[in-house]
């Protein structure tokens, strides 16, 4: 195994759109880097800012929250509410000294397998460029 640093990226994705989109990328065999581990929730509305803080505190180098496009939420408007919350989250993270690029919210629908692959690739590249999370350095 190589001991080259690899970013740890957590994805929290909604069951109906982004998880389905990620599944579609699979059925279509669209290749992307294996840099992300996902947690499935029913709706991005479920994503508590606590989860994101917790992830960074536990050593995540990046976090991605992904849900349905606006207007497409399986539960009407969970993604709007999530987006508002996630927007606030960005400034909180900034205040904590975490580059805001380490945290992203995206919208990937059930038919956007290729977009999912692209999003993951982007996130992996961005976080790899940024290097390990500053919180980790603090710890050491």
């Amino acid at each position: 195994m190589s001991d080259e640093w690899k970013p740890k990226i957590l994805g929290i994705i909604c069951n109906w759109c982004s998880y389905a989109g990620a599944d579609l990328a699979g059925s279509a065999r669209t290749q992307y880097p294996p840099g992300i581990r996902t947690v499935r929730v029913m709706c991005t509305g479920r994503v508590d800012t606590l989860f994101i803080m917790k992830a960074f505190a536990s050593g995540a180098d990046g976090v991605l929250v992904s849900g349905c496009h606006f207007g497409d939420c399986h539960y009407l408007e969970g993604n709007y509410k999530a987006a508002k919350r996630m927007f606030l989250m960005k400034s909180v993270l900034k205040n904590m000294g975490i580059e805001d690029k380490r945290f992203r919210m995206t919208f990937v629908s059930a038919s956007e397998g290729a977009k999912w692959a692209k999003v993951v690739e982007d996130v992996v590249n961005t976080v790899t460029e940024l290097g390990p999370s500053p919180l980790k350095e603090l710890e050491q």
């Binding site: 990328a25 059925s27 947690v39 479920r46 917790k54 536990s58 399986h74 009407l76 969970g78």
Partner: protein, 674 residues
């Protein structure tokens, strides 16, 4: 193995699926299995070729009993595919089905990291560890059983919607057939003949339209639109807007005490109406009045006033006389109906082919769309079936048919997909031309001829034998002679490798088909996803082509993707069967992912109340008299929007609890290093 653990301690089993080489080809199963054994509370870990197979499931069921499992992890494909399978197996094994968790190491791992065995194996280990972390904390849950309303709705009454409604109704289900236009029949009623049998479209459709009207279980709601949808499978409350048509049916007249009144379709009103508008059924090639029917076979036979153009002169009212069928002050009406399931069959629209400017549609008189051709050649059409060219009314002798007009087009202007029926109807058109105009010559400009159906290829041969000329090549441009209005078609014959320039009397563009503008709003009302091109998205392209990811909502016809009449009808029958199952069973089980309030933690702030999109939350009193949040389970859909927000962590989202999610996060980020 930690077999000595007390039974109440978590005891998790991990089963790893090879999925043939689908998983085993990119992930080291042995390494993963050995790794799984090292995870805390894992008491058994095994692997198998196909865990979803009967022996695979039996293996799980036995393991649950033998190892007294409190949690089960299957590392295999997507939970969106096999979660129900393994839940059933869990139940069979004597464990609560909600103690099962799936690690998706296929769709989101082996298939997308096919050439990175090391990366994929590491990711799989993390995924299994995260799933075990959740499985350790899973609890017994019990699905909630709800009764299903014994009624269904079909939205859109083209041939697809008509078939679906007839099938549902004939199986004994009360069916509301909702159609936005004043008549049913959809596109098929605009067609002249249908390939490959060449039977007259109206002749085979009209009996079905009449059946709809006569069926005691069908409530036909024409000139009606869906306004809002609430509820869930078994219990949808659909609010419909019955648009004011200004004309009373006989029943409506009777209800108003007008004896023997109401519209009987006599048509006396139409000639007196002073307003003239283009008739959209004839694609604008014939006029209609402000009070109109689209064509003589409309069902229901009832006149409609287009209030946008009506000048309220009252002439129609006068001539209608004692029937008193006209009500110029009629208003839209809202009605709400309750249905158990719904089928969407809202059809399609034709691509605005003028966007492909090189072909001159809408600029040159003699370039028409294929739907216009259907009307021009149809005996009941605007020319009475006399095939003439629009510029001068002359009979065309040389007609070109341009296939893939906007389909299979990657220029960004047209559509990348195949519209599936244009090849066949263009062959049909070539044949119709010979029938109508002896000595006429047709030129078919094509990319490929796709004659994939039963008797379709044979039909293709027949048209070749009849003398149609096939030129393989995409038409580069069409130019008009301003005096004769004849058309010069330029292309390259890619089989001969030669440029072609032919003078023709008329050109027919086989335009691509696209979702209607309203498809998007309808799908949002019913919570259905769309595919890249805007067609309604089926739950699974192969295994669930009529279903959607919204339980209780099904699809039929072209709104799901281009298909011809036989395929539309077949899918409609499938959708009707699928939609009738929950209704006949009479009850459905809902996943018990409801929100719950941990009252000790709830501050009663009420901040969650407005967040809930379903108004499932209220403030009430706890036993000790404090104000706390209360959930109405019947309304809660388990999105967790409330739980994602509650500042006190007082909301327990069952199956997606905060401890469970945090455990997954920590298992990923810390677990590997422990």
């Amino acid at each position: 193995m930690a077999d000595e653990k007390k039974p109440q301690e978590p005891r998790v089993g991990v089963y790893i699926c090879h999925c043939g080489t689908n998983i085993a080809g990119s992930i080291d199963i042995k390494e993963l299995q050995d790794y799984a054994r090292t995870i805390a509370d894992v008491v058994v870990s095994d692997e198998y070729q196909y865990v979803c197979s009967t022996p695979g499931q039996t293996m799980i069921e036995e393991a649950i009993k033998e190892h007294k499992l409190t949690g089960l992890v299957v590392a295999a494909c997507s939970p969106r595919l096999h979660e129900p399978t393994f839940r059933r197996a869990s139940q069979e094994g004597g464990m609560n089905q909600f103690r099962f968790e799936m690690a998706n190491i296929r769709e989101q791992n082996s298939w997308v990291h096919m050439h990175d065995r090391e990366g994929a194996t590491e990711k799989a280990k993390d995924a299994v560890r995260m799933a075990v972390a959740k499985a350790r904390l899973l609890e017994d849950l019990h699905p909630k059983s709800v009764p299903v309303e014994h009624a269904a709705m079909v939205v859109g009454a083209g041939v697809g919607g008509i078939q679906a409604a007839l099938d549902l109704a004939s199986s004994g289900i009360k069916t509301y057939l909702v159609e936005k236009s004043p008549t049913i029949g959809g596109r098929m009623s605009q067609l002249d003949k249908t390939f490959p049998t060449l039977d007259c479209s109206q002749c085979i459709l009209t009996p079905k339209m009449v059946d709809v009207l006569r069926h005691p279980n069908i409530e036909l709601m024409s000139y009606t639109e869906v306004e809002s949808v609430e509820g869930y499978i078994g219990n949808f409350d659909v609010t419909l807007r019955k648009k004011a048509n200004g004309v009373l049916t006989m029943e409506q007249a009777e209800a108003r005490g007008i004896v023997g009144g109401g519209c009987n379709g006599c048509g006396d009103c139409e000639p007196v109406c002073p307003v003239i508008k283009p008739n959209p059924f004839e694609l604008g090639m014939a006029p209609r009045k402000a009070i109109y029917i689209y064509h003589p076979q409309v069902v229901p036979l009832l006149y409609t006033i287009d209030f946008d153009s009506c000048v309220k002169c009252g002439l129609c009212e006068e001539v209608c006389g004692d029937k008193k069928a006209i009500d110029l002050e009629m208003q839209d009406e809202l009605v709400t109906v309750k249905v158990g399931t719904a089928i969407l069959a809202v059809g399609y629209e034709v691509f605005p082919i003028e966007k492909k400017t090189e072909w001159g549609y809408k600029r040159y008189d003699n370039v028409v769309s294929s739907l216009e051709f259907e009307r021009l050649i149809c005996a009941s059409g605007p020319t009475g079936g006399k095939m003439i060219r629009p510029s001068d009314g002359e009979v065309p002798k040389k007609i070109g048919f341009v296939l893939c007009a906007g389909s299979r087009d990657n220029t960004g202007i047209g559509k990348p997909y195949c519209s599936r029926f244009c090849c066949m109807y263009s062959l049909k058109h070539a044949h119709q031309l010979y029938e109508k105009i002896p000595g006429a010559q047709s030129y078919i400009f094509y990319m490929d001829i796709r004659s994939f159906g039963k008797m379709y290829e044979e039909f293709y041969y027949r048209i070749q034998d009849e003398g149609a000329k096939f030129i393989r090549g995409r038409v580069a441009k069409i130019e008009e002679d301003p005096i004769t209005k004849n058309l010069y078609v330029t292309t390259e014959d890619t089989l001969l490798g030669q440029p072609v320039n032919i003078e023709l009397d008329m050109v027919v563009l086989a335009s691509a088909v696209v979702p209607t503008e309203e498809t998007n709003s309808v799908r949002k009302l019913f919570g259905v996803s769309q595919s890249m091109d805007g067609w309604l998205l089926e739950a699974h392209p192969k295994l669930n082509p009529c279903g959607t990811t919204t339980a209780g909502v099904f699809l039929a016809g072209v709104c799901q993707g281009p298909k011809d009449i036989p395929d539309t009808v077949a899918q409609a029958e499938g959708a009707a069967a699928a939609a009738s199952i929950p209704i006949h069973v009479g009850e459905v089980e809902l996943e018990p992912y409801f929100a719950m309030c941990i009252e000790e933690k709830c501050a009663g702030c009420g901040m969650c109340l407005d967040l809930c999109p379903y108004a499932a939350l209220d403030l009430g009193k706890s036993e000790d008299g404090r104000t706390v949040m209360k959930v109405t389970e019947a309304k809660c859909k388990g999105c967790g929007t409330c739980g994602g927000f509650c500042p006190g962590g007082a909301i327990w989202m069952q199956h997606f609890t905060t401890p469970q999610i945090v455990a997954q996060i920590d298992a990923f980020l810390l677990g590997g290093e422990q």
